[in-house]
Symmetry: C2
DNA sequence: GCATTGCTGTCACTTGGCTGACATATCCAC
DNA sequence: GTGGATATGTCAGCCAAGTGACAGCAATGC
């Protein structure tokens, strides 16, 4: 089980917010907000907007990314059902610095900032949970940042895939299959490189039997080999 | 006052934790922890250690950095008196992912994790404050990360200097002087490049009258010109 | 059905910044 | 003071990765 040490580089995060609420709390939270539906490629919010809501994802996937100079996008993470997003801007004030885009049809719960603050302040352990969520993201981002500084593209992509596998992976026989469909461009935006570079790097990995791609979903064929690319 | 728009790119952060406490709270916090002294270049904690304390800086400066592959260091930020650090690891669990090093003689208040949690849970607005601190760091790190992806070294250094000026700058006649002494190596570790590159980039800036260096402290001679390097 | 748009694959060309090396300058400890 | 450690300045050579360009291949919509 050596390779798993890498997948577990960062221990499993308490990313699921909803799961940590009891029935009464969940009910109270729902009463505070309203249900919203978004279609594929709709923006839930975008960088620069004031940002006075916290969102809880009930279904679908949301991509959180940051616009960078010259129209580039830096993808920070994908939110899964049960997770919060838009929390940091609300806690801190000063408007959104990131954008949130529905990757597919999404259902979410939208709660206004002031109501959420009251909700949290009345329930100390939820305040702690919120701190945990923020802390996890801080750590993940720190790790991504350090990788970007010190690893070459191939290594960054290998690490990314292992990280994604820990969160979005489903074991399928001897393979580990990502549930999240990704384009080369999106991978490039996650590791800070260009699409062509990703194409050629993934090409190498396919050729050497590390992984395959099926319907835009990465399939890890050898965790062993992949972990080795990680340095 | 155009150039100030850049310095203010990210609005002033509520970085000072202590300042937001009233006398009674501060007193209670002090009662929970113990005072510790560190000499220049002492580690307060280092990446990999379990990390069961939160620290409040009362005097001096602490450098927070993350070890990266091949012995590189990635400097995330410098803590100033009044600020917390070590908060994320405690909120989240799972040990330290960063190291904290005293840049000079430091006095700090060390509070055990469980005590701090109780302290926070009993005071909802302090929970909110903690969330603000984490959120601010998340945003700052996001900004640094995006810069690293999309800007070349010169631009990154210019942006770094403006960012530092907003936090550590003191106006001195027409100059804006950083209170924080920095080596080229440290600047390199903050923008993700190498020492030699920083030396030559700063050399260019000196030659073109953008800044000067006095006793390891950057002195911005023209915010105008510096902001222009920012793109 | 066809057309438009977006994704993948490949490749020749260019370059920013890393590397390693060395000289000088400055600081600190003893 | 003197000696070692640490910081700065400069430079030639090299390479990882970006750039731009183009061709084939899905999808998706009308």
């Amino acid at each position: 089980m050596k390779p798993f040490l890498f997948v577990m580089q960062t221990p499993p995060a308490p990313t699921d917010f909803i799961q940590h609420l009891d029935a009464a709390e969940l009910c109270a939270l729902h009463a505070l907000g309203r249900r919203e539906l978004y279609a594929r490629n709709d923006f839930v919010f975008s960088a620069g907007s004031p940002g006075r809501n916290v969102y809880f994802l009930r279904g679908g996937r949301v991509k959180i990314f940051q616009p960078a100079a010259s129209g580039r996008e830096v993808i920070l993470w994908f939110c899964l059902p049960g997770e919060v997003f838009g929390l940091a801007e609300v806690a801190r004030g000063g408007g959104r610095s990131v954008s949130a885009l529905a990757c597919e049809a999404c259902e979410l719960l939208c709660v206004a900032e002031d109501r959420f603050k009251l909700f949290v302040m009345a329930r100390p352990h939820i305040a702690l949970l919120s701190m945990q969520v923020l802390s996890s993201r801080l750590r993940l981002l720190g790790e991504m940042h350090a990788n970007l500084v010190s690893d070459d593209v191939d290594t960054r992509i290998a690490k990314l895939i292992l990280r994604l596998a820990a969160r979005h992976g489903v074991r399928h026989g001897s393979e580990l299959r990502l549930t999240l469909p990704l384009t080369h461009q999106e991978i490039a935006d996650m590791v800070g490189t260009r699409r062509q570079t990703v194409t050629s790097c993934l090409g190498d990995m396919k050729r050497s039997g590390v992984l395959a791609i099926d319907n835009h979903r990465l399939v890890i064929e050898s965790e062993e080999l992949l972990a080795r690319l990680t340095d």
